[in-house]
């Protein structure tokens, strides 16, 4: 099974934890990722999604000049870059988030979404199942042929008796 690095999105939009909420909104509007990862150095410490920004748009408590740490989700569930895709799926199944930062030695290197992992696993399984079925059908035909032709076979190959 392939590793998570095969399906991760590189070049994730990031912001330092000192950034303002308005910076996060601007960055998000210019990128299609739907989220911004908040980093301290290179270590991901939180994540802001579009939902957080939309919530912030209508709430009166936090204005856009405030720090991003006020609205970010923290701590985040990181996935190591060497994790196998099956393992990542198990993590996603228990956490139920949509987006997971990918880390290498605690440094942010990418991002993976639930959708990508699920689709990749489905593709793999379909492929494996098709091959397996083809092999099985061949074997079953072979076995069946021997059952049916048993009487004829022992005439020509007496050692089968």
């Amino acid at each position: 099974m392939a590793k998570i690095s095969k399906i991760m999105i590189a070049n994730v939009p990031t912001l330092k934890k000192e950034a303002k909420i308005s910076d996060a909104a601007k960055l998000m509007a210019s990128k299609p990722h739907g989220c911004v990862v908040i980093v301290e150095g290179k270590k991901p410490i939180g994540i802001i999604t579009e939902s957080d920004i939309v919530k912030n748009l209508i709430s009166k408590k936090t204005n856009p000049g405030k720090n991003v740490t006020k609205i970010m989700s923290s701590p985040v569930t990181n996935i190591d870059i060497n994790t196998k895709i099956e393992k990542a799926n198990k993590i996603i199944d228990t956490k139920h988030f949509r987006r997971y930062p990918i880390v290498q030695n605690e440094n942010l290197v990418g991002l993976v979404t639930e959708n990508r992992v699920v689709q990749e696993i489905n593709d793999n399984i379909k492929f494996h199942r098709n091959i397996q079925n083809a092999v099985l059908i061949l074997f079953v035909i072979f076995e069946f042929a021997i059952f049916v032709l048993y009487e004829y076979l022992i005439k020509f190959f007496p050692f089968l008796r």
């Binding site: 509007a29 748009l57 699920v118 076995e143």
Partner: protein
Amino acid sequence: MMIKARAIMTENVITINDSATLTEASRLMVNKHVKSLLVMKNKTPIAVVTQNDLIKGSLNKISSKVKGVMNKKFLVVEPDASYAYLIKKLKNEKIGKFPVVENNNLVGIITETDLVEATRDFTKFHQIMQEVILTVFGLMTAFFLFFFSPLGQSIFRG
């Protein structure tokens, strides 16, 4: 296995009028816990508005109405549309919103989230099928070997 749109759609569609303001749209989204709204005009879906559109709209001050920020990245489908067709559209054309229309009535919507859920179920189905096939095959092979073994020979053919 054929999964139809009807089986995976969300029946409770959150819609909005195209003359609504961005604040109304944001409030509706937050209250209903959805990531996009379907924009309706005369009972027909004309566009979708996503969280990203709202953020862009409120930043750039293009328009204070939903009409000014909505996008056309959606595809109307019939309840009989297949899962494979939807997945193909999602992957190739990056369309993630499929309003389901039957006899000119909106009956539901399929979003990326519904498709991910369906794919998860689909994967489980594949895994179970695989195990069933392996089991049947294993039993057949065991019987085959037994049939030709000396013990099997004395039982089956005297």
